[in-house]
């Protein structure tokens, strides 16, 4: 059976180019970065080169990147490390109500240790109002942590504005960029970010590698003590192979970001438009689809890249399930070498013009959604059933339904944007990625309406 993976927000396959870069570090280049001999030096050099690549992708300095094992670890270090190091200044932390569980749970734990947490509400698109951040900051506030892009509904938060407010108020600003790093542009200086979390396995790198950007001069305590690795902030023998893979993944994302996000935005918009038209009562959760985020348009034109960097992976090296369809290198030439989006012929620009979009798509905040994220609600059915039916037909997706979680509670993000539990139960997240092709989108548009119809027939709430 044909298999279509549309759960890239959960995790991504490792790009074959990344695997290739990693391989030597499992065997011949296996050294411990702390060893003095040539094996150690080789590993250390690979580590520092990787650090430079990851730093570059967010315009940070080399010494501001700490490698960790996961975004969860980075987020724990950011919150607890800042809390412990700055509690003499104050014990108040501001987060949003739609953060990833690793932020929410870390904050909850800090609350038990006597810290005070403010959880900011979001609007119906999942956006934090920067003015709410301003109002929440007090004399005792030591940290504001607002995610860059939401993992469930794809909302891109106004972190530049929030960063500016935090800078004015002299409060550390952390952002969880696990979902956005490598997909949209990040500039930690322009955005006034003090700490930033990234993850390798969300951007075609291996699991087990992640990073935390910590601005020079930031007061932070380590959580893991030992041999003093990573400037003493994260002791543990360094996972060099995974970090080399992470860096290679970052390198590829940097090169292909602009083209890829345009391609995905177009596919995303086609899928959203198609589903809203074909499925009665369907509703898009999160910000409306629109053109790509503004930040991307400022990127360098692809034509400025060396040709060698532009070529996609060979199809044969790709994971089998993903192999269907042409590799990125087979993209229309016009798209590969194109001028910046703003100068592109209209037809090439991502998505249909706003005026041609269904009304539901035009309202609200444009340009605030990740290029690869889609989240629908289908009233009258339940998400786990929907995901399982789709899986039986070869489509891998996810849901915010309570039934799919052991806690038996619907997604806190969907509830925070004002959905009722029954709406959250009928939610479906489709997240696109590097190997998603137009024919995959067409297949979903063919299958999804039938599956929803079938489940509604079983349901007592059918129409």
């Amino acid at each position: 059976m044909k298999k279509i993976y549309l759960d890239y927000a959960a995790t991504t396959p490792i790009d074959p180019r990344v695997t290739k870069a990693m391989l030597p570090y499992f065997s011949e280049k296996f050294g411990n970065t702390m060893s003095l001999h040539s094996f150690g030096q080789e590993a250390k050099q690979a580590l520092e080169e990787s650090r430079e690549v990851v730093a570059n992708l967010m315009k940070a300095k080399l010494n501001e990147i700490i490698f960790t094992s996961s975004a969860t670890e980075s987020n724990n270090l950011a919150l607890k490390g800042i809390a412990f190091a700055n509690e003499n200044k104050g014990r108040h932390i501001v987060i949003s109500s739609i953060e990833h569980p690793c932020i929410i749970e870390s904050a909850k734990w800090l609350e038990k240790q006597g810290f005070e947490i403010t959880r900011l509400k979001v609007d119906k698109y999942g956006l934090v109002e920067p003015d709410d951040v301003r109002k929440a900051i007090r004399k005792e506030t030591i940290l504001v942590s607002i995610m860059h892009a939401n993992n469930e509904i794809g909302t891109i938060e106004p972190i530049e504005e929030i960063g500016k407010i935090c800078k004015e108020k002299g409060v550390y600003f952390h952002t969880d960029a696990a979902q956005s790093f490598g997909k949209i542009l990040i500039d930690v200086n322009k955005m006034n970010i003090d700490l930033l979390t990234t993850s390798s396995h969300k951007m075609y790198g291996p699991k087990g590698a992640a990073a935390l950007f910590i601005r020079e001069g930031t007061k932070i305590e380590p959580l893991i003590h030992g041999g003093g690795h990573e400037s003493g902030l994260r002791s543990s023998t360094v996972n060099v192979a995974a970090i080399v893979g992470f860096a290679e993944a970052a390198r590829i994302c940097q090169r292909e970001m602009k083209i890829e996000s345009e391609r995905l935005t177009k596919l995303r918009n086609k899928l959203i438009k198609g589903v809203l038209q074909k499925i009665k009562g369907s509703h898009l959760n999160g910000p409306p689809a629109s053109a790509m985020p503004k930040a991307l348009r400022a990127g360098p034109p692809a034509s400025a890249m060396p040709k060698a960097l532009r070529a996609g992976p060979p199809a044969s090296a790709m994971p089998k399930a993903l192999r269907a369809g042409p590799p990125a290198s087979a993209m229309p030439k016009a798209l590969r070498a194109g001028p910046p989006a703003s100068a592109m012929p209209k037809a090439l620009r991502a998505g249909p013009p706003a005026s041609a979009m269904p009304k539901a798509l035009r309202a609200g905040h444009p340009k605030k959604r990740l290029p690869n994220n889609i989240n629908f609600s289908f009233p009258g059915i339940e998400g786990e059933s929907l995901v399982m039916q789709l899986d039986l037909l070869g489509i891998a997706a996810s849901t915010g339904s309570a039934c799919s979680s052991e806690k038996l509670e619907p997604s806190h993000v969907l509830l925070a944007i004002g959905l009722k539990p029954e709406q959250a139960h009928g939610s479906l997240r489709l997240s696109l990625g590097r190997w998603t092709k137009e024919k995959d989108v067409d297949y979903v548009l063919e299958v999804l309406p039938k599956v929803v119809k079938r489940l509604r027939e079983i349901s007592p709430f059918k129409r």
Binding site: M388, Q389, C403
Partner: protein, 167 residues
């Protein structure tokens, strides 16, 4: 091991006895806000030549997760053509056993739900026919009604919302 057994997937893929019965002998509803599952079960009960009450037909409609749909389907196949008194004896454990694989603990209430809907449909039949209601059935009905009332408070507006969004 996959999350769900072959038996669950079989019933989930092709649920048996989906639909409504017009003028049912008994109709039962069960719902659980925790999981978001809601189901309705319809029974057609007739007497055979020996005068025993037989479930001639059974249909169901379920809004719910994989286990909820599969369990209701399985339950209907278990009671169809059976004597009413035997159907009354079915417990959630019997359903779980038939599924051929232990369920994750947080999924067990879904099985309970299908049995609840069946018992409620039988209760409805007893009530309509002014029959003496067995003690266990009465107790079960009171428990289900009480839970339902509590859930109703939290679940208010669901049907209105449905109507609005699907019109």
């Amino acid at each position: 091991m996959p999350i769900y057994s072959k038996e669950i997937i079989k019933h989930f893929k092709n649920p048996k006895n989906v639909g409504k019965i017009k003028k049912p002998s008994g109709r039962g509803e069960a719902g659980n806000i925790l999981c978001g599952d809601i189901m309705t079960l319809y029974l057609k009960i007739e007497k055979n030549e020996k005068g025993e009450k037989i479930i001639k037909d059974v249909k169901f409609e379920t809004l719910g997760c994989v286990v909820a749909i599969a369990n209701t389907s399985l339950l209907t196949t278990m009671v169809k053509g059976k004597k009413l008194e035997d159907a009354l004896k079915i417990k959630k454990e019997d359903l779980i056993k038939r599924l051929g694989q232990p369920l994750p603990p947080f999924k067990i209430h879904c099985s309970l739900l299908a049995v609840d809907a069946l018992k409620e449909a039988i209760y409805d039949y007893y009530l309509k026919n002014k029959l003496e209601i067995p003690e266990d059935l009465e107790k079960g009905h009171q428990r289900i009604t009480k839970t339902k009332e509590e859930l109703e408070k939290r679940y208010k507006g669901f049907q209105a919302f449905e109507k609005e969004i699907l019109k």
